[in-house]
């Protein structure tokens, strides 16, 4: 399956792309480039910002605010350098890997963007990307409301509904944390996999972030009230 690419030097990727001529459809780098230019930032043609991304989504009939496949797409393309954008280099490399060089090909790609296709490791990587991508500017944390919305969008179906629901309610209503860190974000998913049954939870030996300890406490309080 797909894994996020990137990290190798730009020139070698370019070289690879140019010399590719596998049987079947060859990758048309020029076409991909042209596509990028349509969506690139006005004042910086090497970067596609949120405006461009939204435009791209419109072209392929994806709702950029509600449909998590947008995030999957950006993840698979390999946006890494900064949040809320994708660089030209990343885009072109991504397109090459995904074998898309036209809008039409993007459109036919969409069904494969369902997260159901991802195994646990891949999903964790994607999930982490969701946090990183949604950061604003130089902030390293996310606002808790955004976190709740994101979680609901991305985790539904992947973890039990009641767990997701109760955790989101908890995050919204508690007052100690207004922002959520990456560690808290990623730990929550690991926690869902590792501790499906809250009655098994043992705080004294747990390394989970305090946020999660407090969540378990919150759930225990709710139980008592019943």
């Amino acid at each position: 399956m797909w894994t996020s690419s990137g990290g190798s030097s730009a020139s070698s990727k370019t070289a690879k792309r140019k010399s590719s001529s596998t049987a079947g459809s060859a990758f048309n780098e020029k076409a991909a480039e042209k596509m990028f230019e349509e969506f690139a930032e006005e004042d910086d043609p090497t970067v596609m910002g949120m405006d461009g991304i939204i435009k791209l989504c419109e072209h392929v009939d994806l709702d950029p605010f509600e449909d998590k496949r947008v995030l999957v797409l950006l993840w698979k393309l390999g946006s890494k350098e900064k949040p809320s954008q994708i660089t030209k280099e990343e885009f072109l490399t991504g397109c090459y890997n995904l074998h898309v060089d036209t809008i039409g090909k993007f459109q036919s790609l969409i069904p494969s963007l369902d997260t159901g296709f991802l195994d646990e490791m891949e999903f964790k990587d994607f999930y982490k990307f969701c946090f990183q991508f949604n950061r604003q500017g130089t902030h390293r944390t996310l606002d808790k409301e955004l976190v709740v919305a994101l979680m609901k969008m991305v985790l539904t179906g992947r973890i039990p509904d009641d767990r997701l629901e109760s955790f989101c309610t908890f995050v919204e209503t508690q007052e100690a944390y207004t922002r959520i860190t990456l560690d808290q974000w990623t730990s929550f998913l690991d926690f869902c996999f590792a501790v499906p049954d809250l009655s098994q939870y043992d705080e004294s030996s747990s390394a989970w972030p305090v946020l999660i300890d407090e969540y378990v406490e919150y759930m225990e309080e709710l139980q008592k009230k019943k």
């Binding site: 860190t181 990456l182 560690d183 808290q184 690991d190 590792a194 030996s205 972030p209 305090v210």
Partner: protein, 741 residues
Amino acid sequence: MATNVGNQRIIPLEEGWNDEIKAKAIDKLEALLNGEMKSGSMFGPKEYVQIYTTCYDMCTQRSPYNWSRELYQRHGETIEKYLTTTVLPALRDKTGQGGTILLTELRHRWLNHQIMNKWLKKFFTYLDRYYVKHHSLPTLSQAGLRCFRTKVYDEMKGETTNAILGLINDEREGKIIDKSLIKSVVELYESMGMGSLDAYNSDLEEALLNSTREYYAKKREDWINDSTPDYLIKAEEALTKESKRVDDYLNSASEMKILKVVEEEILERVEMVLLEKESSGCRALLQNDKSEDLQRMFRLFSRLENGLNPMAAIFQNFISSMGDDIVNRRQARLEGGEKDKNDDPKFVKSLISLHEKYLGVVKQDFSGHSLFQKALKDAFVEIVNKNVGQFTNAELMSTFCDRILKSGGEKLSESEVEESLDRIVQLFSYLTDKDMFAEIYRNQLAKRLLTQRSTSDDSEKLMIAKLKMQCGTQFTSKMEGMLSDLAVGSEQRSEFENRMRSVDSKLDFSVQVLTTGFWPTYKSPEVALTPEMSKCMDIFKDWHEQKHQKRKLTWVLSQGNASVRGVFGKKSYDFQVSTLQAIALDAMNNGVTMTFQELATKLNAEESILKPLMHSLSCGKYKVLIKTPPGNKINPTDTFTANPKFTSNMRKLRIPMATLESSLNTKRVEEDRTIAIEAAIVRIMKARKTLQHQQLLSEVLNQLAFFNPNPRDIKKRIEGLIDREYLERSADNAQVYNYLA
């Protein structure tokens, strides 16, 4: 008659046996033993040689006239016959007449047997030398002994043992018995083991242990209704007596076993009952200071494995409840309306006395045993950390030290001071939040030092040394720094004084330089100074700059002191005031009247400083200024003027001013703790590279000696460090951390 080669005549078996050996040796021997002859007429040397020679000859004659085998056999038969026909019946005859009679007879027969054995061996010695060895047979002595064992001992041992046990119980009940008799019979048992104690153990000791157990089980039932001290006295006595008994007439190997049985029956089985008796148990003894009884209780229960643990638990509980009482009394006083201050010497002294008293009990009554030391410690850790009211015990203890160390506090001799400090440090060692104590202590120390109200430099050093010994150098480094600043200051004072003299200033001026970091942080208000003051300060600044170019000076006017001469009509006074107060008084000189605002402008002082300042001069005990309108509160609309009617009996007066600093910087301590936790985590992870969560937690707790963070706080710091990328969670195991270089 056959003849030998040579002159020797061959002795035939029967002739040699009947005429010589039996008649002259055996019969005579038996008669002697039976008391039919005078014992004085035992075998003389001539007689003996003759018999011996006969045997010798009979054993060295050449075959078929060598009678070794026959003689050996007949030796055994002789003894056997004697035992069976003479000795055993005699013993049986003495049964049923009481133990002493039986034992006496047995002793007699045993002694006889030893004599018989000895003489027969002497006669037949030659057999022992060659025949016995050659045929790997028991020696004559062994054979004789075995004979006694099978024919007499085995038959009589049951009754003999019963006889002995009966006598022992008699002795236990207080009757006089013949100890040496029993001792002799015990020696018989020992010998019957043929080199081991097996016979003694299985035929006597085992039964003795059982009867001992029975006996003391019954005694226990009798005694158990006594008070605990009375019971224990009896128990101790019993153990002493049993020990002596073994010494008197039993085999020493039995001592441990017997004592163990007795201990089990009279101590172990009823330990909890004894300890928990309502009015005479362990708690009651502690309550009533029954030192001797406690010592006995300790002695006796130390004999048992884990015998001291229940005692130590009761001891700990007792001290805890005494401590609770002290804490509750304080609470009651506060609830009853007493002002909640950071000074409660009554409370601290009560804790100290409690500690001293039971430290003594541990040393004297419990021989300083570690279980009891720990019980005392655990109890005090619990007590000392129970805070009531708005001030922690850490603060109360620090203020207690302040009282002792400042002039005008408690009046104590040098040795009393040392003793008190010593004891406070002991209490201090039980505090969880030691860093809180340190912070408060430091603030109070600084105040003493800066207002020159410390009784003695030596006492200050002493206390710091004691704290250092408890907690290490790091704990006291700032305090020591403060003292060294003062030492340096006084060294340089004379040098600076010379400088001042050369400039001919009107003010007697000196400066104390404080190293930032050692001292608490003080506010440094930028107040407008009098010209004379400014001049002095500039002189110092120059002088200091010459000495230390790179150091930056910041004036801390809030901590300075001044002496101001006030002339009111004909009388004059010396006021000991703070620098700020001096500046205010200067502004009020010559009878001027000023409003609050005017003063604020002239002095360039903020309201938060000017208010307490003016309050101290116009609303306190010594109203050097008059405030209009009068009252206890300073309002920005007030006006002030010097008080022409001011008078006092004393010439020298100190006018205190409310402190501008908060007395305790809790925030600072919290910050320090956060830093300490993070530093510990990083230090540990750097060394270990990778560590499981639980282990990291416990190592952190180990390293933090001066406070006890809860696991959640440590976790929060870990999360912080993960965020700042000092650590990461391991990809394989979310419970493991890796250090990121």
